[in-house]
């Protein structure tokens, strides 16, 4: 009886469910039988060598890439070719890109107001109020009337995070958010992400920032060759990796 209640409770808390997901680019098998469950509020860091499929994995969650086999469920909605479902899921799932992808022809404020106004039919005044609140939270309120090209990389990425938050998502995906940044700007972006993690946001982060993984993640997933090779709590993952490939990878990126 109690076991049943337990399993129900966990089932309710699972916000992303991937079962037997496979994807090919032509002949190239980029995702191999991926099974992954993410609980509400969980912070997951995905790492692995380049080309291991980690970006593709999180891009499948908001259907920027289509998977060819398997089942993905986000917040209880099945992700299929139904474009209504896809749009619905995208409104609940925020994404931050390596290249920021701010809209260069809009001011910072317009960048933030755009999606709430057109995807949620929010009135301009309300969208601006939300936008200003998030801009203040990421510390770039005074830049609101500038264009993205006038901001530093770190500032642009913080704007991109704020832009996603304006849609009030329940899940945030980060696709190598600091890889295009100069070293001195990485910290300001990571600080915003840590602050976000502390609010209880569900986060999937593809990154090579291992200190971030160690201090923030609940679970670290190591991918190689399109499959999940190992997953573990960060301390166990870094101090006592179980698989050879993980050991090799860690020794390569932690050696200097």
């Amino acid at each position: 009886m109690s076991a049943k209640i337990d399993s129900q409770a966990t089932a309710e808390n699972i916000v992303i469910e991937m079962k037997g997901v496979n994807k090919w680019y032509g002949d190239f098998h980029v995702l191999k039988d991926i099974n992954l469950s993410v609980r509400e509020g969980e912070r997951i860091v995905i790492c692995g060598p380049s080309g291991s499929g980690k970006s593709t994995l999180i891009r499948c969650i908001n259907h920027l890439e289509a998977h060819q086999q398997g089942v993905i469920t986000v917040n209880g909605t099945l992700l299929d070719e139904n474009s209504k479902n896809i749009t619905q899921i995208r409104r609940e799932v925020g994404m931050v890109f390596q290249q920021f992808n701010l809209f260069p022809h809009m001011t910072i404020l317009d960048n933030l107001c755009f999606a709430p106004m057109w995807a949620r039919n929010m009135p301009r005044a309300e969208a601006e109020k939300t936008a200003l609140r998030y801009l203040e939270r990421v510390g770039i309120l005074e830049q609101k009337d500038k264009y993205p090209g006038q901001l530093s990389g770190g500032q642009q990425q913080r704007v991109a995070i704020a832009r996603s938050l304006c849609m009030n998502p329940s899940i945030m995906l980060f696709d190598e958010p600091t890889s295009a940044l100069d070293p001195e700007m990485i910290k300001e972006v990571l600080d915003v992400m840590i602050e976000l993690a502390n609010t209880g946001m569900t986060m999937l982060v593809v990154t090579h920032e291992m200190s971030f993984a160690r201090s923030v993640a609940d679970r670290v997933i190591f991918m190689d060759g399109g499959e999940i090779v190992e997953e573990n709590a960060p301390d166990a993952f870094f101090d006592n990796p179980q698989v050879d490939r993980t050991q090799q990878f860690l020794s390569q990126i932690l050696s200097h």
Binding site: L64, T87, M95, F114, A115, W118, A119, Y147, G149, S164
Partner: protein, 366 residues
């Protein structure tokens, strides 16, 4: 032993060698650098000396600025009273003189709107709507409606007609071109092939042919009770022709927008339609502003072809004026004036476009 502080005394710089500065050195470097340069320079100088003084003499020194045809013939230079006498006709054709203020107001509206755009006083959706309304406003002012006296289209002519054809042509063909480009770039296979067929068909045929089709052949195919007047048929032909070229220009812009822009917008939950309308197209248009302005200039010059199908545009009026028996023998003046007017308008457009390009966030990007 006293230690004198050593003070640094700069030696004054030597003057540059005389062979490197001054007028003689400049001439040597730029015009007489070697025997080839020297030959070209002398040849060009000879040509200029042979033509420019004659041209200035004809245009200004021996020209007549006040008087009648006989005074002109006596002086032997250019006959500007001829142009002054014909000025109204050249500008408006046989449009009723007493109603000339109406096209005048339309012209002022055009200039004011252009100035507001240029100075960035008006922007965004208001600007787009204002430009979209302008051709209708011009048509109403020229043609007469809402109680204003109507003026038949056969009376429209001169520079007014040229500018009207170009203005309506540009303003309608740009959105049409954008639609065609979107159809070709994003459309389903059927839409895509229809767009490609339309674009390639119109681009593969000279404008004159299309004008002939519209003016002479189209009435043969239409039912007899369906009468579309000649001017409208010509205007539609020009719009379709122009939109095919605009479409290809815009498509170039669409291709230049990185995929990340689409992905970012879609990832925010914005629909594909809104993404294209508000993220992709505005950026694409900004990218292709220079060739787009080039197409506008080309379209304005192309309006001179309507003379072939019997419309009396600016060039048509010039030709008419040159045949006036009381001013016989002053063809050259008419065509010099025509060239001058076309050149001033096109060059202004070019400068105007350069300023628009210089501005905007794309100029400061990255």
């Amino acid at each position: 032993m006293s230690t004198e502080p050593i003070i640094f005394q700069p030696t004054p710089a030597r003057a540059a060698p005389s062979s490197k500065i001054g007028a003689v050195a400049w001439l040597r470097a730029n015009l007489f650098g070697g025997w080839k340069d020297t030959v070209v320079t002398i040849a060009l100088l000879a040509i200029l000396l042979a033509t420019v003084p004659k041209l200035i003499g004809w245009l200004f020194l021996r020209a007549t600025f006040w008087g009648d045809a006989d005074a002109c013939r006596l002086a032997g230079g250019a006959c500007w009273p001829f142009i002054i006498d014909k000025f109204n006709v050249l500008m408006m054709g046989v449009y009723p003189q007493e109603l000339g203020w109406r096209p005048g107001i339309a012209a002022i509206a055009l200039i004011v709107l252009a100035a507001l755009t240029y100075t960035n006083r008006m922007r965004g959706i208001v600007l787009v709507v204002a430009w979209a309304i302008l051709p209708f406003f011009a048509l109403i002012m020229i043609g007469g409606a809402f109680g204003m006296r109507e003026v038949d289209q056969s009376l429209w002519g001169g520079l007014m007609l040229s500018i009207l054809l170009a203005l309506v042509g540009v303003i309608v063909s740009i959105p049409l071109g954008v639609m065609l480009a979107l159809g070709r770039y994003y459309g389903s296979p059927v839409v895509k092939s229809l767009c490609i067929a339309f674009i390639e068909l119109l681009r593969g045929v000279p404008l004159i042919t299309i004008l002939f089709m519209a003016s002479v052949m189209m009435p043969l195919f239409l039912p007899p009770d369906m009468i579309i007047n000649n001017l409208l048929r010509i205007q539609i032909a020009m719009i379709l022709f122009s939109s095919a070229y605009m479409a290809e220009v815009v498509r170039g812009g669409l291709q230049a927008i990185p995929n990340g822009q689409t992905e970012a917008s879609l990832a925010l939950g914005v629909t594909r339609r809104h993404t294209i309308a508000f993220v992709i197209v505005p950026q694409a248009l900004r990218h292709v502003l220079p060739p787009l302005i080039g197409r506008c200039i080309a379209l304005f010059k192309d309006t001179s072809l309507v003379i072939i199908v019997g419309l009396l545009d600016f060039l048509g009026m010039i030709k008419n004026a040159a045949l006036d028996t009381s001013w016989l023998g002053f063809q050259a003046e008419a065509y010099v004036f025509a060239a001058f007017v076309y050149w001033s308008i096109c060059y202004s457009l070019s400068l105007y476009g350069r300023e628009l390009e210089r501005r905007g966030p794309s100029a400061q990007k990255r």
